[in-house]
Structure formats: structure tokens, C-alpha cells
Symmetry: C2
Subunit: 189 residues, 2 copies
Amino acid sequence: MRVSREKAAENRETIVEAAGSLFREKGFSGIGVADIMRAAGLTHGGFYGHFKSKDDLAAEASRAVMARSAASWAKTLEEHPDNALELLVERYLSAKMRDDRSHSCIFGSLGADAARQGKPVRKAFAEGLRPLIDVLTVLVPGASKVARRRKALAAMSQLVGAIVLARAVDDADFSDEILAASKAELLRD
Amino acid sequence: MRVSREKAAENRETIVEAAGSLFREKGFSGIGVADIMRAAGLTHGGFYGHFKSKDDLAAEASRAVMARSAASWAKTLEEHPDNALELLVERYLSAKMRDDRSHSCIFGSLGADAARQGKPVRKAFAEGLRPLIDVLTVLVPGASKVARRRKALAAMSQLVGAIVLARAVDDADFSDEILAASKAELLRD
DNA sequence: ATTATCTATAGATCTATAGATAATGC
DNA sequence: ATTATCTATAGATCTATAGATAATGC
């Protein structure tokens, strides 16, 4: 049953990957270790060879998801310096992102849940948020850096809140309207 | 052990009240029926005389919390027509609200969770959101009603996102900065 | 020999129900 | 007689651990 160190490291990554999707889809307390391991193609008992606890995995999976977001935002900024804000906002507030919880921004799907977690998860959320704010600070309009950072924090809040509200309501038109309103306001000036 | 009809109705309200607080504090899947009943001063088994299921309570508790929010916002609008927006934003984005999850806006604490619930809860969230948007539509600046409604939806999103992010991070200064940024931006124009 | 994974299980907790109890309200 | 609540429990699920197994890597 034993596998190579390389394969074990790969398995660990698969667990983190599965957890990143399932936590976002179901919430930290809405999915169990056994289901995550099953999604990763492994058995329940093997989990504790890789992680100290479910909380430990929650922190690591959160970090992994946020690192990917930061890389994606930075890449958009680098590749499309002229219209990066528009691209990010359109992508973030798209119907596709709203409907695909398991692969969307973790602050929308798990931000409120993170507040209920221990220090490691909340530390991961703080450190994971900073690079996104840094990208937005470059992109939003404003005379001074201080003014742009303030605008960036407000814009990030608006993105997160819009996706949360658009998902919470069961009325499709209302949901679309919520996304469209923030899209229009964020790209207005 | 049996109590009067009046007392039973009162007990039901106590359960809904306790659930409204505990769900906001712990999430829909972070608290059990037994704990809610204990908080209400009743025993576990008695629950199913009042509600069909935990989901049933989740929908009813959500409606109750949102009805109270709507009443509070409408009261602020009525009593302070000149500076209601400022009052609402200052209250919503205060450190006190951030730190008191169990009595704060349900969209921030349970919005993401609601997306994972069944139709009744999501219907409650849609119907509960509308009156808050209506109040904001009166308060935000804008030439036309259409423009004001768009601004209101964007403002609500920003409020919800700011409180979610401020709670998710473990860095107190960063958290305060998130709240201050949205406060400043929302009251700028 | 070491160790990554598996099987099996302990012990706690969760939702929901059955049946008993005792006070209300006809 | 009805019914609101209680006690007790069924059955499922959850986190975590113990010990067995078998392939890796010295």
C-alpha cells in the first residue's frame, strides 16, 4: 500500500486541491475529512499522515486557493495593463463565477466561515487578501496612493459582497441585477 | 410538563430568537438542534413539536432576523431623514457590529451559507434583502430612480463585503482599515 | 527498517422519532 | 381528551487513533 515519497507529496497536493474545492462548495463545517479523502481517491485513515487535523487542512487549503488567486490577478495585471480592472471585475462578477462556488474567490465563499475558524485560518485570510488589495491599488483611479488603497479596499469589499448576495437569493433576475449593479458602479469612474 | 398555548407560542419565539443568534454566530451547519434548544431553555426532543426540521427553523429564524433589520433601517430613515445614510453606514461598519456576529446583519454572517441551503432559506434571503435595498434607494444620491437603485445595490454589496472581510482577517489594524475604507468611500459623495 | 496507506473502530455528536408524562382547555 | 414537553434512543455521521499491511529507500 505504501507509495513513493514523490507520489505521497502528489497525494498531499490532491487532498489540498479537493479540500479547496469542497470547502468552498460546502463550507468548512459542511464537509468531512472522509468525503475530502474520498474525493482525493484515498481512504479516510490516511488523512492523518498528511495533516495534524481538519483545521490544519483548512488553513493549508485556504492558503493554496488564495495563492492561486493572487497569481491570477497579478498575471492579468501584467498581461493586460490597460484594461485589467475591467477584466477582473467582469470575471469576478460573472454568472459563471457566481454559479461555480467550488472554483471561485474564497473570500466570497468562505470569508464569513473564516471568522469562525481559529487563528491559522484567519491569518491565512489576512495574508491572502493583501496581494489582491495590492493589485487593485495599482488599478483603481485616484490621485494619491493612500486614496487608491482606500478605493481598492472598498472595491474588494464590493466584489465580495456582490457575489455573496447574488448567491444568497433564489431569484435569478434579482441575482443578475445585483451583479450588474456592482459591475456598473465599479467601472463607472 | 405541558404548558399553556400562550406559553408554547412564547417558547417557539424563544427558539427562533436563540436560533437567529446561534446561526449567525456559528453558521447554519455549525450549531445543532440540541444546542439551540438548550439555549432556549428547553429540551432537545421538544423541538419537533414546533418545527418540521432544522431547515424549517433556519428559514423561519432568517425571516425573523431580516424583518427586524428592515424595521430598524426603516425607522432610521423615518427618524433621521437628513443623515440616515451616514447613521446606517457608521453603525453597519462599526467595530461593535464586526465583533458581535450573533446580533449583526445576517447577510454578512450567513449570506454565503444561505447559498448552500434549500429553496426556503434562499427565498427568505431574497425577500429579506429587498426592503433594505428600498431604504438605501431612497438614501443614496443619484439623478434617476434607476441610478439610485443601482447605487443602492452596489452600496449594500459593499457593506456586506466589508464586514465579511473585516471579520475574516486576524490583523486588527487591517480589519479596522477595511471598515474605514468602505465608510469613507460610501459617504464620499 | 522505514513509512504511506489501509482497515477497523472508539467515542462524540447530529437529526429525527417514539412513547411517557403531566398540565391545559374543552 | 388533547397536547406541549420530556426522556430515551435509533441510526447516521464526524474527528481522530490504533494497528496491520506492503512497498519504498537505505
